[in-house]
Subunit: 434 residues, 2 copies
């Protein structure tokens, strides 16, 4: 019988979930893999609380180096989080020839390239399925199931907090601030929610997926990000009227060696399956040249779904270890020779939903559509919708394809008009998923 | 550089798709896998037509044994289909130590146990991702991504022809026979459509998935099957009124060592994501004890999606081959010791939609509900809906949970009443996916 020794760095929520599976399901895992996966040490600052785990107290240590320097340990699972200690420990563990499993998306998004290179040099596996999409096997699907495909696009709803908030605004018509407060009270949003609601978490994830999909280095800094703070019940109601739903969508598409990669509130057709993704659930749609569209849907976070993904990585590495192979190298996705670059956001084209708040008098529409025309933006429809409030009316325009630069410049000019009473709301529309 | 030699048995639609990827994307596959995957021979009766493939004519042979007896061939891909020649050739290839990749679901559903045993004895891989769900990595997700999970249920829409027909009946109100004829003209249904529309194809697939999910042998013969021939626009309209959609659903759930496994038209809640699966698309929802629900959605058939899945199996085996390992054995899912048995259909409990066609006179409702009560079937709602036609009216009853046996016996008694003018329509309801 093969035996693999595992060390766990950090025993918070996810770490506890991982330890629980390794202890409680060791018979099941051994039967399924022909390998004993032995969780030898758990390193954490708190070693007095056994977290309801069925293990001896001696498994706990407050010295991470006991794991990193133990020649018997094959795989190090990092569930500390953050980018400082976690990074140092991972690099030291790799230096010592350990294989690594982590769910630390922020770390990978910011320091992944460095870690991948180091892992590649040392010939160890660095696996991170749990960093994107929780229990959904997004990375495995792209790297293994779609290996015969050129990936054209990866689009998804990758943050449960944002999706929960947008779902509640849409269904109950409650303003953003109020839903956020309730979500915080219910535990669906952090006390400092900006990481989620400003789209940073989603940007980390799409940067990781784009890297794997297109064979490029991770370029988190170049991902255009816009969060959901400014989404109102009124815009969600109008979206519905036009046959759309608003989601915080992570978009990445490749065209002619350039990757269009961005995160922002997006109107998607209500009859598209991504529009059915509600509450805290996540979904990712991957389009390959052979497979067409493959969509994965499930819990993108949480103790058990994340632990489930970590276990799958541990088992995959165990199988490699047994055969002395790094089955899928951490830099395998970088094999392609051609340079892939990120398309500058100014050059990206979208359709737009504009909601103008204007004085209710003749000629206003013509002024605004005139300015849009000057910037080469043509209109698909113009509607005056909703109640007149304190002297101004909402005017909604849906555009044909327009560049980000034209849209931005046109709005600066329009927002400076006397007849425009509030900054214009602009939401991008994506119709062509399939 | 590693090198793997592959032989292809059968070069019809799917086989051509596979050959095309192996020839046209050999650089891509080599870069991604560090392995040259060489398609050495293609065996087919027709060796004069090169199918637009960019290969030398000498690759074609009409002698399958040239592949099976070639000691250089590592992997045999079977895309002949059917259960006779394909089976014999696969068994001979296994005997000769070849790894096998196939999409042949009928073969696996009927002869899988025998083939698995033989593959296991000879220590070769027998992979069949493409047999279920086309490009969706259903088998890989269950076997690898959810390896730390006990699988509770696998439910899905697994036949594109049926889903296409049901979608069109629902959206256009056209009767089954007419939609079927159009589907045949458009190429969405076979000239002999019974394999699809009677649910056999779906039953093959769910038998395969249940086997992997619950660690049991394949028991295709014991899967309860009902097709979609009797679904009317009127029932789809009524389903919508009650908040449901009708899909040909493959169901498998495990409870207390017994597997409830069946295929039949099923009313599912319209707001469930499976209800959004339209046209020829497929979807599978897998529920694990750690991951919760994971749903996969995509093209379940077709040349390119199927070829894409076959290529992923070929690459997985290549990686094993390079390291001299059978990474996941064909019988790995049979490791569990406990006996799993299929629950007799009579004991399965469902909620039911009954549509009675009865005489429009006082007392009829009380007679019918009385008989249902005698069989222990209690009602959630009773409605008289729709037009009176030629002397009878439709009465719809939605029941609480009732056993198949009670429902069957009660309907026999009810259908024999003078006041009942047509056989009662019975459709099962599934509410509790999540």
């Amino acid at each position: 019988m093969n035996k693999i020794n595992v060390g766990l760095l950090g025993c918070g929520t996810v770490g506890t979930g991982v330890a629980k599976i390794l202890f409680d399901k060791s018979d099941l895992l051994t039967a399924r893999t022909d390998t004993v996966i032995n969780l030898k040490y758990i390193a954490d600052l708190d070693i007095d609380n056994n977290r309801g785990l069925s293990c001896d107290k001696s498994v706990f240590t407050n010295d991470s180096m006991k794991i990193i320097n133990d020649p018997e340990i094959d795989i190090v699972i990092e569930t500390i989080g953050g980018e400082t200690i976690a990074k140092d420990l991972i690099l030291e563990a790799i230096e010592n020839g350990k294989h690594i499993v982590t769910a630390n998306k922020a770390l990978i998004a910011k320091h992944g390239n460095e870690i991948f290179r180091k892992a590649s040099e040392k010939g160890v596996s660095f696996f991170y399925e749990a960093s994107v999409g929780g229990c959904m096997p997004v990375i495995k699907t792209i790297r293994e199931s779609l290996i015969g495909n050129i990936i054209h696009s990866v689009n998804g709803i990758l943050n449960g907090t944002c999706n929960y908030i947008l779902t509640r605004i849409a269904e109950e018509g409650i303003p953003f601030d109020e839903v956020l407060k309730q979500a915080q009270d219910e535990g669906y949003a952090e006390q400092d929610p900006s990481f989620d609601i400003d789209g940073i978490d989603t940007a980390h994830k799409i940067a990781i997926l784009a890297s794997i999909s297109y064979g490029m280095e991770i370029n988190f800094e170049d991902v255009y990000v816009e969060g959901i703070r400014n989404i109102t019940p009124f815009d969600l109601e109008l979206a519905e009227y036009f046959g759309y739903t608003i989601k915080l969508l992570a978009i990445s598409k490749i065209e002619g060696g350039e990757v269009d990669i961005r995160v922002h509130p997006t109107m998607i057709p209500s009859n598209h399956i991504l529009a059915s993704v509600k509450s805290t659930l996540n979904a990712v749609n991957i389009k390959g040249d052979e497979a067409g569209d493959v969509l994965l849907y499930g819990h993108g976070a949480g103790m058990k779904p994340t632990a489930s993904a970590i276990i799958s990585d541990v088992v995959d590495i165990s199988r490699n270890k047994n055969t002395n192979s790094t089955r899928i190298s951490s830099t395998a996705h970088l094999n392609r020779k051609n340079e892939i670059r990120i398309k500058p956001i100014e050059q990206v084209e979208s359709r737009f939903y504009f909601r103008f708040s204007v004085e209710d008098r003749p000629g206003v529409l013509s002024i605004i559509s005139g300015i849009l025309g000057d910037y080469g933006i043509s209109l698909e429809s113009v509607q005056q919708k909703g109640q007149k409030k304190t002297g101004y009316v909402p005017v909604i325009m849906l555009t044909h394809l327009a560049s980000e630069k034209s849209a931005k410049d046109a709005l600066i000019e329009i927002n400076s008009l006397d007849v425009v009473k509030q900054p214009t709301v602009a939401i991008r529309i994506e119709d062509n998923f399939e």
